[in-house]
């Protein structure tokens, strides 16, 4: 490589230009944070910590002249913005999704790498990738037309009868919209993401060690237990957190099956819920009618909380995954 002084102008321009563009991701991240913070500032001042712990979301009386005032910021009379139900809805539906998706995804990953012959594996891979590509509104469509009636009529009552001794499975099933439907829809969405990453991580397991284990007389499952899974554990864990991050931020499919609850903490697995992402969409129309604009600022603050949450989840996931893949690279 030439020394810096001898680099021709064209090359130097190319390096600078690509470098600037490459820095764009960081600029975008910072800009998202700064602009969301700026836009939600009035709401942060008005609500303080109550924003995260409050249960009531009420944009106030838009037709009166009186105003509520906190910390010098004004909002319509009686306005309170508490997003605890949305935070819980987001976390619980994502938790259900991860619990359901992990065994599915790891099973599929093992099928693809260890069990299925090449041809069959390729077909299953294609189907899993297709599922990952299906637009979330189409998955929501399926949730709305198929999943919700099934939960309301069959699965819900059955679950209640079998597991009703556990409090969270007790209570009215309702129409089928709610926490369980959201969790199922999210599980369908994140399974292909976790499965594809698990497949890639499992493929990095050194072949000699695997063959050695089989040569010692271990069965295939014992080989997987003793070699593949320990070797891939941190990578699979990273994939799971990646899936969790996706579930936390998913909007449309959840919006279509969650029941869009407000002012209501989930009571059991059948409760209607609202998630942070879904609420940003479902509340926009009513928020825009607020002449003080405080309701829109509060939505911006939800987006800000969601942004911070996604960064907190994705940073460890990426660190785990990159070290898992690097270790695989060294072994080859």
């Amino acid at each position: 490589m030439a020394t810096p002084g001898k680099v021709p102008i064209l090359d130097r321009a190319m390096r600078v230009a690509t470098g600037i563009v490459a820095g764009g991701a960081l600029v975008a991240m910072l800009a998202i944070f700064v602009f969301l913070l700026r836009d939600s500032w009035p709401s942060i001042q008005y609500n303080g910590g109550h924003f995260l712990t409050g249960i009531t979301w009420n944009i106030g009386n838009l037709y009166g002249n009186s105003m509520s005032s906190h910390n010098g910021v004004q909002a319509p009379a009686g306005a309170t913005y508490g997003i605890l139900p949305f935070i819980l809805g987001t976390l619980l539906s994502s938790l259900i999704a991860v619990v359901l998706a992990v065994p599915l995804a790891v099973g599929i990953g093992l099928l693809l790498v260890e069990y299925l012959p090449r041809r069959l594996g390729d077909s299953l891979s294609f189907i899993v990738e297709m599922l990952a590509g299906i637009p979330s509104v189409v998955i929501g469509l399926w949730g709305l037309a198929v999943l919700i009636p099934w939960i309301g009529r069959d699965f819900g009552p059955w679950l209640q009868a079998v597991l009703g001794f556990i409090p969270i499975f007790r209570g009215p099933v309702g129409s089928g919209q709610g926490l369980l439907a959201s969790g199922l829809v999210l599980a369908v969405m994140i399974t292909p993401i976790i499965a594809a990453t698990t497949r890639d991580v499992l493929r990095q397991t050194p072949r000699e060690t695997k063959e050695g284990a089989l040569g010692l007389g271990l069965t295939r499952w014992e080989m997987i237990r003793a070699v593949s899974l320990p070797w891939s554990a941190s990578g699979i864990f990273g994939a799971v957190i990646l899936g969790l991050g996706r579930a936390l931020g998913e909007t449309m499919a959840v919006l279509m099956v969650s029941g869009s609850a407000v002012n209501y903490l989930p009571q059991n697995i059948f409760s209607p819920i609202g998630t942070m992402a879904a609420t940003i969409v479902s509340q926009l129309d009513s928020a825009m009618t607020d002449p003080t604009g405080m309701a829109v600022h509060a939505l911006a603050e939800i987006a800000l909380v969601l942004f911070v949450m996604s960064v907190v989840v994705n940073v460890p996931a990426r660190i785990l995954l990159s070290s898992a893949v690097r270790r695989g690279g060294d072994a080859q």
Binding site: F126, I134, A145, T251, L255, V281, R318
Partner: protein
């Protein structure tokens, strides 16, 4: 331990894994069947020639709108993503700067699309006063797609044999010429796959467009700002909740068109990968 029991356990685990593979087929087959069976009655020539009127009509505005917004988004995302990928994979690959860029790009890919949409709403729709518009939607989609182009470009570049670069440089070609005429050309299948992945994601997005592109019943015009635009995913979301059969069938028809587009893009990407493997 008993040998038979170990064998049985092995079989049980295989059966469980196979069960997982079968379970995941249920939603895939279920979705295809649901959308196809409900959309077929709604398919007509008018779907492609008429615009949506109230809760009926056709999908012409949404189809053209999807191509317009998504196409513009990819036109923004592809060159920027490829440039960043070239920097990370070719100009400065081993450096800690590259590693940091890789990391931020991955984290950006994990930011929920609704957050990107809201960011576009605050900065472009309100901040710059563009209103709901094609360009605002396209930029939001580009932000979502760029990370995928960057990472695919980088991976593809890293697989180009080192000797090819050295041969080109030894012949007196500049680094820029080498990248443009040798390495990028060699890495093209991987780069195109990344762009197609971004395309497929952009086609299926809804939430960020609600906040940036808005919705319009009219055919899109060429105005980039101050004119909202229609797209297929909006039809699926809103028209399924209408109490009219005509609106519901439009939603399913839009869903079917989306699925067809996604399948075409995915199959194209697979073809490219398969062909480039055969060439080696």
């Amino acid at each position: 331990m008993n040998v038979t029991w170990r064998r049985v356990k092995d079989r049980i685990m295989l059966a469980l894994a196979a069960l997982m593979g079968i379970i995941i087929l249920v939603p895939v087959v279920g979705m295809l069947w649901l959308v196809v069976s409900h959309a077929l009655p709604a398919l007509s020539f008018g779907l492609f020639t008429q615009v949506t009127v109230g809760t009926g009509g056709g999908l012409a505005n949404a189809i053209v709108g999807t191509f317009y917004v998504v196409g513009l988004g990819i036109l923004i995302a592809a060159p920027l993503g490829i440039m960043a990928g070239v920097y990370v994979g070719e100009v400065n690959p081993g450096s800690s700067i590259a590693q940091f860029v890789r990391f931020t790009t991955d984290v950006l890919a994990g930011v929920p699309s609704i957050v990107i949409g809201y960011f576009g709403y605050v900065t472009l729709v309100l901040g710059l006063g563009w209103g709901f518009s094609t360009l605002a939607g396209a930029i939001a989609l580009a932000l979502i797609g760029i990370p995928y182009v960057v990472r695919s470009t980088e991976t593809a570049l890293s697989k180009v044999p080192r000797g090819m670069r050295e041969a080109s440089l030894a012949l007196g070609a500049s680094q820029t010429t080498t990248i443009w005429r040798v390495t990028l050309r060699e890495a093209l299948p991987g780069v195109v796959t990344g762009v197609l992945l971004a395309l497929s994601i952009a086609i299926g997005e809804t939430a960020p467009l609600l906040y940036t592109a808005g919705w319009s019943n009219y055919m899109p015009n060429l105005r980039l700002t101050h004119a909202p635009i229609g797209y297929l995913t909006y039809v699926v979301w809103t028209f399924i909740n209408e109490p009219f059969a005509s609106a519901n069938s439009l939603a399913y028809a839009a869903g079917l068109l989306l699925l067809i587009l996604i399948v075409i893009v995915n199959v194209a990407a697979r073809r490219i990968v398969a062909r480039s493997r055969m060439g080696r």
